[in-house]
């Protein structure tokens, strides 16, 4: 395991329209945080030279003290190891002191921001936009985590233009899932049209020498170039990631945090391998995928994505099928144009 995710609080100061998390004023204690890092350390191979610690919520910045303590504790515990720190925040509690702390300690702050639909889906548009500019001034590579709700999907491309205008270079786009977001043929056709425009922006910006990364597109290109995504290379729960919730309980992935049916141990008794195997063995890819030409490049083995869209660990929804097909086609279109033009930064980045 080389990635520790600490669910440091389930509390949140926003009520996003599509969020299905149950929020409560629960916080990780400093003792649990230290024990979680110690347990994680016990699982690392001796030759580990680098790993990542992420801070997850709720809104993780409601527990800034735990983030600070965890960074200091892990640095002291692993003086010769490179540790990448990361947290995703809604931005409301980002202040100068936290930005300074992040800069001094290599903590990457990713900002959840829904672009032009921010005021409808998340609120506090003006405040978060101020933070957005502040974060960009601090680090030009601040990542944006954008969720697209079917109701506001028609603003997607304009939202990406908005982020580009604010000098953002790395954007993740996730279509909302769960009971509060229902994708149908109509909303998907708008999503398709919008993603085509987004891909054009991706191509144009990279052609202009601006290394814009639209992650859903770029990850498909990378996976093809690296030949690493195949039907056999699906995620294996808890194999490289350890997610510890505020109470010390372990879950396979952020999507399953707090869901008792996915509880797979705790930091004191260790991983419950029997339970983990039960969950793993229930994941059987649908047979129809075998005959689909997109099979080897599709992410239908992602258990948390499947669960989000279809409530099944192994069964992707019809929406996922269409979205994966769309992403692969758009990724190939963009890559063919940029590589055929020998775009120097793009090519170096992708083939390094």
């Amino acid at each position: 395991m080389r990635h520790l995710i600490l669910g440091i609080t389930s509390n949140c100061n926003l009520a996003c329209s599509y969020c299905e998390q149950v929020h409560a004023a629960k916080y990780m204690s400093i003792d649990v945080m230290r024990d979680a890092i110690d347990y994680f350390a016990s699982t690392l191979p001796h030759d580990t030279s680098k790993f990542q610690i992420s801070f997850y919520g709720g809104e993780p910045l409601l527990a800034k003290n735990i983030i600070r303590e965890a960074v200091l504790y892990s640095k002291a515990k692993f003086p010769n190891t490179k540790i990448i720190y990361e947290t995703t925040t809604n931005g409301l509690l980002v202040d100068d002191s936290f930005i300074e702390f992040s800069r001094d300690n290599g903590l990457v702050i990713a900002l959840s921001h829904d672009g032009l639909s921010q005021s409808e889906t998340r609120g506090f548009e003006r405040e978060v936009n101020t933070v957005l500019d502040k974060l960009v001034r601090n680090s030009p590579s601040v990542p944006i985590m954008m969720t697209v709700h079917p109701e506001f999907v028609d603003t997607l491309a304009k939202s990406i233009e908005f982020f580009i205008k604010h000098k953002i270079k790395k954007i993740n786009i996730t279509p909302a899932s769960g009971n509060k977001a229902s994708w149908d043929d109509n909303s998907f056709s708008i999503l398709k049209e919008q993603m085509e425009k987004v891909t054009d922006l991706y191509i144009k910006n990279n052609q202009d020498g601006r290394r814009l990364k639209i992650l859903p597109i770029e990850n498909k290109i990378k996976a093809y170039i690296n030949e690493t995504q195949s039907v056999n290379s699906h995620c294996k729960l808890c194999s490289s990631k350890l997610l510890v919730n505020y109470d010390g309980k372990i879950y396979p992935c952020t999507h399953f945090i707090g869901l008792e049916e996915f509880f797979v141990g705790d930091i004191y008794a260790g991983l419950d391998y029997k339970r983990l195997m039960e969950i793993e063995s229930s994941r059987i890819a649908p047979s129809e995928c075998d005959s689909c030409s997109y099979n080897k490049r599709c992410s239908h083995r992602c258990a948390c994505a499947n669960h989000g869209y279809s409530k099944s660990l192994s069964e992707p929804s019809a929406f996922q099928c269409e979205y994966e097909r769309l992403l692969i086609n758009l990724a190939d279109k963009a890559a063919e144009i940029l590589i055929n033009e020998n775009n120097p930064t793009f090519v170096k980045d992708l083939y390094k």
Binding site: K236, S240, S293, C321
Partner: protein, 112 residues
């Protein structure tokens, strides 16, 4: 929405890293870049010391080294910390598999 299966051939017109990197067999692993021309593909695969092998390969993607040269600014292509980052909630495709304690694990970055 209804689920459907695709039967069309997917044939991306850009090379995979291993197709380009075959030309790097005379050097060590490292960065690689590819240039695609009208009828041929020219790839350049390189190593950390800035030496690269320029390779020519036809559309059948069977490259052969043709010349070596220095790559200016090779150091600029070194992976940055940003490249290592795994964002939570990013439904990212596995970019690399690695063996961990005899098990096949999911990656957290390209560097593993």
């Amino acid at each position: 929405m209804e689920k459907r299966v695709s039967n069309n051939d997917l044939n991306p017109n850009y090379p995979t890293k291993s197709e380009v990197n075959i030309s790097a067999s005379r050097v060590t692993k490292g960065i690689a870049s590819a240039i695609m021309a009208a009828s041929v593909t020219i790839g350049a695969a390189g190593c950390g010391d800035g030496k690269v092998v320029k390779a020519l390969f036809e559309k059948d993607r069977n490259p052969r080294p043709v010349e070596t040269y220095e790559l200016a600014g090779a150091a600029e292509t070194a992976p940055t910390e940003e490249d290592d980052l795994l964002l939570m909630g990013e439904e990212t495709a596995p970019t690399e598999e690695f063996i961990l304690d005899g098990d096949i694990a999911e990656p957290i970055s390209e560097d593993y």
